[in-house]
Symmetry: C2
Subunit: 377 residues, 2 copies
């Protein structure tokens, strides 16, 4: 039972990997889907037009950040997030659980909520599940996330267990809270690296009947193997008829592995942040564009890439922009990296539809050297 | 006698104000024209497509800066500036006289050239007129500038007089130097705030037969009145059948006044630099977009502006981006300001063609408050 205006249709499966379509009040997107990160209602440096031209159909914004600046009341007064940021496609807002627990000095966490200091000005802020849902209701995204307690995955078991219990308690309260019309609500599975906690959390959330489910609390120290193992375990315990979203990860190889484990949706700052730091993606691994070897390289970043950057500029020009510290470097790099991610998920989808995902994934993982890339939230 | 591939046709005059068309090997542009500044072969933060969409038909790059980074040899090896930066329209390169004399610790100036330290790494660089022309030949712009000595306009008369003499000597040598095929060469009038030096320099340069003429050495301390007076005096002494270019200036009101004095071409960092600093132009003067008064302002920056920014975003969103320090703020602001400048010169042109420039200029100057704007090179 989904909310009106939201649906997930599974089109094909190939092993655990899936291809589907998600419908939202602001249109459809195909899965596997990669959502560019627009934390503060802006994908850094790119116009919505440029974001759309990379092939992105859904973007992510962050409720916690937006509630502090400019304030969800401002966004609401301006007609909601779509109108505010000039993006008329689907938007997902993260509730801020991860940010509260990673960016802020915590004063107190109890079953009621979290008291913490704003990372901007140190002001005390109290966030409850109801408050997180209210922020998201007023922002008006198509998909909103439950408010969770996000512990470090390697924290001692009792800490993680307590976080899972609170996440489940809060999930119920999020389900009871008012939402914008047509907005879907996703529950978030916590449990660190503890298999039974992950499974238990996934099963109890599943029984609550969310519109979709997220794998949370990964990519923060457990290592690529840990991430992959926990992702696969969690995905396997989630309902087949709902989209599954791996939060905040990852590198291209993380995405291909997670698609293979049955994940449908992704977001990560890696393509845009790495682009600003002169690291551009190719199927053979990342290129560090400040390297002197590119000083006179007339080729595009990727020979067969159809992005605006590769169609118009050489590696030599991009290197020059990065070395000179020109703003345009980050812009052109972000366009390429986001297009790379969009083509990657589209390639995954095609491989699933054509029943050759396993082969596709093996080839991709063999070609892309993980050396030099870094996972990042 | 112009070089093949370059011409200036005067279409109309209204008082001293003019409307014309300049043809170059990479296409035409109408005058009065405003050239966005792409010092390092990039208009900061904007793709060539975005620059073109503001209405710009010619951009400026800087030979001095490009010779230091990435080196004119690199640009030449990549097929020249047009290909390097992905701009297929006309390009003008400044020779670097202004930069050498304003950015660099000078070790020695004599009639041969200038010995100075690079502002990047302190390395000693010797630039002669022949060297400045060689750099520009290898960059391959459509319009190149003579190498001049650019003294502060308020420097003592003997200093300015010496600079004028050297500028004239160097101008002859620039005329004798090889150029890229079809490239036009503009001479630069110096003379500080000394009327007779300006007039003498303009007359002697005119007799040398350049393809166009620039008014140099202004906007550096002489004040708006001094700028306007020297611009008008210089323009009046230049040949009618050649384009006139006021270098590095200015604010919208400077441009309107200079068009009234017979200037045809402009460049200035003000629209892009001010945009990055949250100052956006309107016909009623600049808006400081960080101001709290815009926090919930649903209007575009300018009600009747057709730029991408005004068609898609509110003042409230722009304020949010500026306050949050988002890259997109500078991008969207630059798009608006550059479009504002392009509409301004197009409005000037229309007023000239319709024989109502004096009235247009008076109305414009009355509406735009100069308070809060700052001239900048």
């Amino acid at each position: 039972m989904s909310v009106a205006g939201f649906s997930f249709r599974l089109r094909a499966a190939d092993g655990a990997a899936r291809a589907g379509v998600v419908s939202t009040p602001h249109g459809e997107f195909e899965t596997p889907a990669f959502m560019p990160v627009g934390t503060l209602a802006s994908v850094k440096g790119l116009t919505p037009l440029q974001v759309r031209e990379t092939g992105a159909r859904i973007v992510l914004a962050n409720a916690y950040h937006l509630s502090l600046r400019p304030g969800e009341d401002v966004v609401e007064a301006l007609g909601g997030l779509h109108s505010f940021m000039g993006w008329d496609g689907p938007i997902l807002t993260d509730s801020g659980g991860f940010q509260v627990f990673s960016l802020s000095p915590i004063n107190r966490v109890d079953d009621e909520g979290v008291l913490f200091r704003s990372h901007l000005d140190g002001a005390e802020v109290f966030i409850t599940p109801e408050r997180a849902m209210e922020i998201q209701r007023r922002l008006g995204a198509d998909i909103v996330m439950a408010f969770d307690e996000c512990p470090p995955p390697l924290a001692p078991r009792p800490v993680v267990q307590k976080a899972v219990e609170r996440t489940l308690l809060w999930a119920e309260r999020c389900l009871d809270a008012p939402r914008a019309e047509g907005a879907a609500l996703f529950g978030i599975v916590q449990g660190g690296v503890y298999r039974d906690l992950r499974l238990g959390c996934a099963e109890r959330l599943s029984s609550m009947g969310f519109d979709g489910y997220a794998v949370g609390g990964l990519g923060i120290g457990e290592g690529a193997e840990g991430t992959a193992e926990m992702t696969a375990l969690t995905a396997s315990a989630l309902p087949e008829d709902r989209p599954r979203y791996l939060m905040g990860l990852g590198r291209p190889e993380d995405i291909v592995r997670a698609v293979g484990a049955g994940v449908d949706m992704f977001d990560c700052v890696v393509p845009t942040r790495n682009a600003r730091n002169a690291m551009l993606f190719t199927p053979n691994g990342p290129m560090r564009m400040r390297n002197a070897r590119y000083a006179r390289d007339e080729r595009p970043v990727m020979e067969d890439c159809d992005c605006y950057t590769c169609r118009n500029f050489t590696r030599a020009y991009l290197r020059h922009l990065y070395v000179a510290g020109e703003m345009l470097a980050g812009v052109l790099g972000s366009i390429h990296n986001l297009r790379f991610y969009q083509r990657l998920v589209a390639d995954c989808r095609r491989a699933v539809l054509e029943g050759r995902f396993e082969r596709f994934a093996a080839d991709f993982l063999e070609n892309c050297s993980p050396k030099g890339t870094e996972s990042a939230k």
